[in-house]
């Protein structure tokens, strides 16, 4: 908690340092207010853009207090915010006294043209990042575009501001270089140093087993003489499968479905849902994998005071909850768990037998309620969607002391959170994990 507050304060300090620094070092201005606001917008945007790579660099000390999912969302929000700030930058300067020629004239210094190009690229960058699925891009293609464009934009913004900003006296130029160096190192570490380090000790695929008709568990073992890294149940990792045979080599993040008590292997349970994941079943024992982790804050171990749980899973969202249940079983944790597990049909239910086994074992005290939206005619359990009325009926009214862990597709997660809130569950007791970063 304290680390998170300190890091958040440090982020504010660093991002605002260009804006505040310029103002403090050169307090006197003979420009109009509008013009100064225009330049301030750009200084603020530069600070925000400079720290963008750091947010998603996967540095453990940055990620741990917040979780990578939260940092990625923040990275996305700040990207949009930087665009908004920069869109106001030229018009405010132009109408603030620099003249409309700043926007309309072709005859401008090269660094003004560079600024224009950077702004257009940034808009494209953010639009593509927000709508890459709608634009028909695969995750891997989008990421490649994102990485290349990001570097060009940051480099361009640095050069533009270096030459265009007359406020940049020597101390500020030093700050400019420091910010740029931080971002360049974060990028270099993420794209070059870390992959090389992972390649030195690749994991090996031990087995690939089907859990349902379209869900597979991939079991990985570390290189000989090495231990599996420490992780908490419910966390996720990034895996790059190196399978050869013409199969794609892409990095994907998957939840760890094994329990940390298991020291010999680590496993992920993966659903076929895209071009890449449809090839998971073709992975063979002996293939290698680069594994980077763990990440995420979705685990009961981060909230040791929780004793009475309600787990709500939608489809493959069961995986982090399964890891937690396995850990509770292995540690004989005296906990009470109600699992509401929604699927389309019986054939989609993963880990059905093991869940029944844990429930029969008695520790944790587990009750499983399967809910099917398209059940077979002979299904005798719960049916339909997990709506507010069903939530209220299944959970009951005693919600104050219970901790709710929700992992489901985004729409279901939102609907469940709304339902829980209407039952009087405090935000503090709702913990969620979204599938996509």
């Amino acid at each position: 908690m304290v680390t998170g507050v300190v890091l958040a304060a440090l982020y504010c300090l660093l991002t605002l340092s260009p804006l505040v620094g310029v103002a403090l070092l050169r307090m006197k201005s003979d420009m109009t207010v509008m013009h100064d606001v225009g330049t301030n917008m750009a200084f603020a945007a530069y600070g925000i853009m400079a720290l963008q790579p750091l947010l998603v660099s996967r540095w453990k000390w940055v990620e741990r207090p917040f979780g990578l999912d939260v940092l990625t969302r923040f990275h996305r929000n700040m990207g949009v915010f930087a665009v908004v700030l920069l869109l106001t930058h030229p018009p405010l300067m132009a109408f603030g006294g620099a003249g409309l020629a700043l926007i309309t004239s072709i005859v401008q210094p090269w660094y003004v043209w560079l600024g224009r190009i950077v702004l257009v690229l940034l808009i494209v960058h953010v639009v593509v990042s927000l709508f890459w699925r709608a634009l028909g891009l695969t995750f891997e293609k989008w990421r490649r575009v994102h990485n290349v464009l990001g570097v060009i934009i940051l480099g361009g913004a640095f050069v533009h501001s270096w030459f265009a900003a007359y406020d940049l006296w020597l101390p500020m130029r030093f700050l400019w270089v420091v910010l740029f160096a931080i971002t360049a190192y974060a990028y270099f570490d993420h794209r070059v140093l870390k992959p090389r380090e992972l390649e030195r000790s690749p994991y090996r695929v031990e087995s690939v087993t089907p859990e349902t008709h379209n869900v597979w568990t991939v079991k990985l073992v570390p290189p000989e003489g090495e231990k599996i890294y420490d992780y908490e149940p419910g966390q996720f990792h990034f895996i790059t499968l190196q399978r050869g045979r013409g199969l794609p080599v892409e990095e994907h993040h998957w939840t760890i479905s094994s329990s940390p008590s298991q020291k010999e292997f680590i496993s992920s349970t993966i659903k076929e849902s895209g071009d890449f994941t449809r090839t998971i079943g073709r992975t063979q024992p002996g293939d290698t994998a680069l594994v980077e982790g763990p990440f995420g804050r979705f685990s009961y171990t981060f909230c040791p005071e929780d004793r009475d749980f309600v787990f709500i899973a939608g489809g493959i969202g069961i995986t982090p909850l399964m890891a937690m249940l396995r850990r509770m079983r292995d540690m004989a944790k005296p906990a009470k768990v109600l699992l509401l597990y929604a699927n389309h049909s019986e054939k989609d239910i993963a880990f059905r037998a093991e869940l029944a086994e844990i429930a029969a074992g008695g520790t944790p005290e587990l009750e499983v309620v399967h809910i099917l939206s398209s059940p077979e005619p002979n299904w005798k359990g719960e049916t339909g969607r997990l709506d507010d009325a069903k939530l209220a009926r299944l959970i009951g009214t005693e919600v104050r002391e219970r901790a709710f862990y929700v992992c489901a597709p985004p729409k279901m997660t939102d609907s469940v959170i709304t339902g829980l809130r209407s039952l009087g569950v405090s935000y503090c007791h709702i913990r969620t994990e979204r599938f996509s970063l």
Partner: protein, 61 residues
């Protein structure tokens, strides 16, 4: 809960940046107003060329 905290922080941060950008511009223009003799420059800039001073001119030359 984490997402809620993130939303609150994001909102506060955005408001903070906008207030700082506007507030610092106001401070520079009104509170730390330059002496009248140096303010003549404000009338002079009709284009970006005219607002270039100090290091920028050096780079241009």
């Amino acid at each position: 809960m984490r997402i809620r905290k993130l939303r609150i922080f994001t909102l506060l941060f955005i408001v903070g940046v906008l207030v700082a950008a506007y507030g610092l511009a106001l401070l520079r223009t009104y509170v730390f107003k330059p002496p009248p003799e140096s303010s003549s420059n404000s009338k002079a800039f009709a284009s970006i060329e005219s607002v270039m001073t100090g290091p920028q001119k050096l780079f241009r030359s």
